[in-house]
């Protein structure tokens, strides 16, 4: 369980780094006056460092520093300061991550929240669309897997279920199969 979460986190981070770098390199408004060569050398390296260590706020820090600082040296100073901020916060984040014991799986929660837009908050439907409320994790997992394989027919669920891995389906089923036991 812990390993799955760590891997998911690393994957997310990798994707985010590349996304951030592409965004910053493409958005010329932020880098006007600077050569792309320079961008790809020192600065991009620093961006990588920053993005690698922080998922949020650092692209923002970086954008501001580029907009506001017209001297390379100054900019590098700021980047170093930013890197310090970032590494400290990641340390703190890492500890919190380790401390996160049982409880609700955060990824499962985010995955499951999507379903509520048609099936109601916590899976409690107020319309003809089926409710998850009171259903077991096993029941929900089987239903979703059957929609995914096409074994069970549905107008729209067959299209949705194909968007999730078996592990994600398990997390969603776990969430709705237990949330009604904890929330009134």
């Amino acid at each position: 369980m812990y390993n799955v979460r760590v891997v998911a986190y690393l994957e997310l981070r990798l994707v985010f780094i590349i996304y951030t770098c592409k965004y910053i390199v493409q958005s010329n408004p932020f880098v006007d006056g600077y050569q792309h060569v320079e961008m790809e050398g020192n600065v991009l390296g620093s961006v990588l460092w920053i993005a690698n260590n922080c998922l949020v706020s650092c692209p923002v820090i970086f954008n501001i520093s580029i907009r506001e600082e017209h001297l390379m040296a100054e900019k590098m100073k700021l980047l170093i300061a930013a890197v310090t901020v970032v590494s400290l916060s990641v340390l703190a984040g890492g500890q919190a991550e380790a401390a996160e014991a049982a409880g609700v799986d955060p990824r499962g929660q985010v995955l499951a929240f999507s379903c509520a837009s048609c099936h109601g908050t916590d899976g409690k439907s107020v319309s003809i669309i089926p409710s998850f409320y009171g259903k077991s994790p096993e029941y929900l997992e089987t239903a979703l897997m059957d929609f995914k394989s096409g074994k069970r027919y549905s107008t729209v669920m067959m299209r949705h279920a194909k968007g999730y891995t078996d592990e994600e389906i398990r997390l969603i089923a776990q969430y709705y199969g237990t949330v009604w036991q904890t929330n009134n």
């Binding site: 994707v15 996304y19 954008n63 984040g93 048609c118 669309i129 107008t155 968007g163």
Partner: protein, 431 residues
């Protein structure tokens, strides 16, 4: 208000962050009040904002959440076409804030945000009130580029040629005009080019106006003058029109005489490259951009929409400000109420994790848009999204359209599920 940040301010910002991190808190912004309740201000009580506010409280009731929305009653655009078709009333699409206020203990403030100071982390309201925040969520919806269409204006929309692309008085005006029209009249609908709010919206509208006309004024016609050469769910819409309203709806793409060059509201004419068309009812849907506040607060880039970090929807321009819904640039996601709500949930979850010094979970985003072609004839488009190096993309092999060869049973089930969807999403957001 375009934020200008001096070097000194910037260093302050950084060091405030460093101090906070050393104490084991998350990075920027709103540092240094560890013991206090965290405060989130949400601007806009529509699909994105109201969802984010509710889910923040659901995830952590100790967070103080303020929702700022000037309207006491929010009329949803979803199902406003059903009102035009005579299948729903305005009251059916009215949403209110009592449950968010009373049950979820959200501080709902009936006011308009006039400015955002992202460095000081405060918003200013029209009334002069000021609210500080640790994180700000902005979901202001869209604004219209009236000037993009020669002869069109906000005044023309309010008097002769409604856009009805914000539900409320505009929907009522368009409905009144349809009711006043003679049998044998002509309704002209002018949809904009991409990107715009609810890509299938204008075509569902044409369908449901056709339903109304078929019942009440069967000699009437609908002409769609489109700024595009193809449109959302085109195949299934066209098929539905042929089946339910044969000969009633004519669609012209941009390069076959659909492109609108100018309009004359007094004469009720629309000029295209192929000549003038006169309508009895003219529904002009102008090109769109992020809501005005996003411009005033400097949250937009040159595209007129707001770039965001796809993990937490935090602005790539102003730290601590998250932009969701139609106003943000969310990769492959369309500008829909479903998408806005999905983004609201991801953002709420990310913010709670950040407050606790944790890395947000990888986002999971979904969209399903139902369109009604006739009362028992529904179709849908669905997608599941993931974050990749290209940003938010839809997962291949999942989602997609109602099949072209769907039988009557499936189409009627989809119409039933469309009604179910509305009730459940309204409950999930405002109930």
């Amino acid at each position: 208000m375009n934020q200008k940040i001096s070097r000194r301010d910037f260093s302050k910002l950084l060091f405030a962050g460093a101090a906070g991190s050393a104490l084991g808190l998350s990075a920027l912004p709103g540092m240094g009040r560890a013991a206090d309740r965290k405060r989130v201000v949400v601007v806009g009580g529509g699909f994105g904002g109201a969802t984010a506010a509710k889910y923040l409280k659901k995830l952590d009731s100790s967070i103080s959440v303020t929702l700022i929305e000037p309207k006491a009653v929010f009329y949803t655009c979803p199902f406003s076409n059903w009102v035009l078709g005579g299948l729903k009333t305005m009251e059916d699409i009215a949403q209110r804030y009592a449950v968010l206020k009373n049950r979820y203990k959200i501080d709902v403030v009936a006011d308009t945000v006039v400015s955002i100071d992202a460095l000081k982390s405060v918003v200013k309201l029209k009334s002069g009130k000021v609210f500080g925040y640790d994180r700000l969520i902005v979901s202001p919806g869209i604004d219209f580029s009236f000037e993009a269409i020669n002869g069109y204006s906000r005044k023309a929309a309010e008097a002769q040629m409604p856009h009805a692309y914000e539900a409320g008085p505009q929907t009522v005006l368009l409905q009144k005009q349809l009711h006043a029209m003679k049998d044998g009249g002509k309704v002209i609908i002018c949809p904009p080019d991409n990107p715009f709010r609810c890509p299938p919206g204008p075509y569902e509208r044409a369908s449901l106006i056709a339903h109304y006309l078929k019942e009440k004024k069967p000699k009437s016609k609908i002409l769609i003058l489109d700024a595009k050469d193809k449109f959302s769910k085109q195949g299934i819409f066209t098929k539905g029109w042929e089946k339910l309203y044969p000969g009633m709806i004519e669609w012209r793409g941009a390069s076959t005489g659909g492109r609108v060059l100018k309009v004359d509201p007094a004469a009720m004419t629309v000029t295209t490259e192929f000549g003038d068309e006169k309508g009895d009812v003219v529904n002009v849907i102008p090109p769109q951009k992020a809501g005005k506040l996003a411009f005033d607060a400097g949250l937009v880039n040159s595209s007129g929409w707001c770039p965001v970090n796809p993990v937490s929807f935090e602005s790539l321009i102003h730290p601590g400000v998250h932009v969701i819904g139609d106003a943000c640039m969310a990769g492959a996601m369309p500008k829909s109420g479903f998408a806005a709500s999905s983004q609201g949930k991801v953002t709420a979850a990310a913010i709670v994790r950040l407050f606790n010094g944790e890395v947000p979970a990888a986002p999971s985003l979904v969209n399903t848009c139902y369109s009604l072609i006739g009362p028992g004839y529904g179709v849908s488009v669905a997608a599941v999204y993931k974050l990749t190096a290209e940003g938010i993309v839809s997962i291949k092999g999942a989602g997609g359209l109602t099949p072209m060869d769907a039988d009557d049973d499936q189409l009627s089930q989809e119409a039933t599920f469309a009604r179910g969807w509305y009730n459940n999403i309204a409950q999930d957001i405002w109930g």
